[in-house]
């Protein structure tokens, strides 16, 4: 009886060990990697907040969105808020336009045909890495691209790494985004017409929706 119980206890221990071993190994590997990162950070003399803080990132993004909102026109802000990207027309005319995504390449395309022209991969890395990361908040990245394009399109494009469409952003996704953009614009147009009618009829209406040329002729 005692022998049987002892054998069962041994088998049980072996089974538990086998089951727990992968989790233990993964935990040890994580702890080792964390220790390595901390040592590297200390060795490079940086005081880094290595732990990701979602609250801080969320507050940063909120600030960034407010700043973006204060810099672009109402229509562009609504576009970013609703669709997650901005469209900017090229400076010398309206032969092509750019889609600005946060932390993704700028995509150039022909609005008339929807043909994708190229991807311009550009980044604004902050090498001081104030919170352990060189990445600006999403809305700040979009604002930086928007300001650089608005101020000096040629220079930004020259600084960027140019690739054929599809290098980093799935062309199908871009086409879907263009379709969403077209739908979004139609809805705004119809809301604008409704608001105009309401205003003419003496109702407060929605007012303030900018048409293509209402606030920023070139920019949407």
């Amino acid at each position: 009886m005692l022998f049987a119980l002892g054998t069962a206890a041994l088998v049980l221990t072996a089974l538990v060990w086998e089951l727990a071993r992968p989790a233990l190994r993964a935990g040890l590997a994580r702890a080792y990697a964390r220790a390595q990162r901390t040592l590297l950070a200390e060795a490079s003399g940086h005081v880094l907040a290595l732990d990701y803080d979602p609250g801080r990132e969320r507050r940063a993004e909120q600030r960034a969105r407010e700043l973006l909102r204060s810099c672009v026109n109402e229509r562009e802000w609504a576009m970013y808020r609703d669709l997650g990207f901005l469209r900017v027309w090229e400076r010398s005319g309206a032969r092509y336009a750019y889609l600005i995504y946060p932390h993704k390449p700028i995509v150039a395309y022909v609005p008339e045909s929807g043909a994708l022209l190229s991807e311009y991969c550009v980044a604004f890395p902050d090498h001081s890495r104030p919170y352990g990361s060189a990445r600006l908040p999403d809305a700040d990245d979009v604002l930086a691209k928007w300001m650089a394009l608005a101020a000096d399109e040629r220079r930004l494009i020259a600084d960027a790494n140019m690739h054929l469409p599809g290098r980093q952003i799935d062309p199908d996704r871009v086409r879907r985004d263009l379709a969403r953009l077209a739908r979004w614009e139609r809805e705004r147009e119809s809301l604008s017409v409704t608001a105009g009618n309401a205003t003419r009829a003496g109702h407060p209406g929605l007012g303030g929706w900018g048409g293509r040329g209402s606030n920023n002729v070139r920019a949407t």
Binding site: R63, N73, F124, P130, P137, A148, D159, N161, N216
Partner: protein, 88 residues
Amino acid sequence: MKFLRLKPGHGEMVLAEGDVEIVEQERELIEAFRRELDAGMWAAVPTETHDGRREAELVKSFAEVPRDAERVIFFPRAAGGAPGTALF
């Protein structure tokens, strides 16, 4: 006039603020401007045209900043992004 800096993990930070018509404050603004450019930042001034268009202007010296500008936004210089991983 307010100097803002886009910062990872934080959003914008106010670097300096002052009245360009007051000599002492203007000097402080100029020093802050130089410091940021020396640190490799670009400086942009958000503008609005007469017809209400929102634009931005990159400036390389404090003298290029319009006297009536409310904000100058500093952000890291553009670099060609990582070549990245091809999707296909």
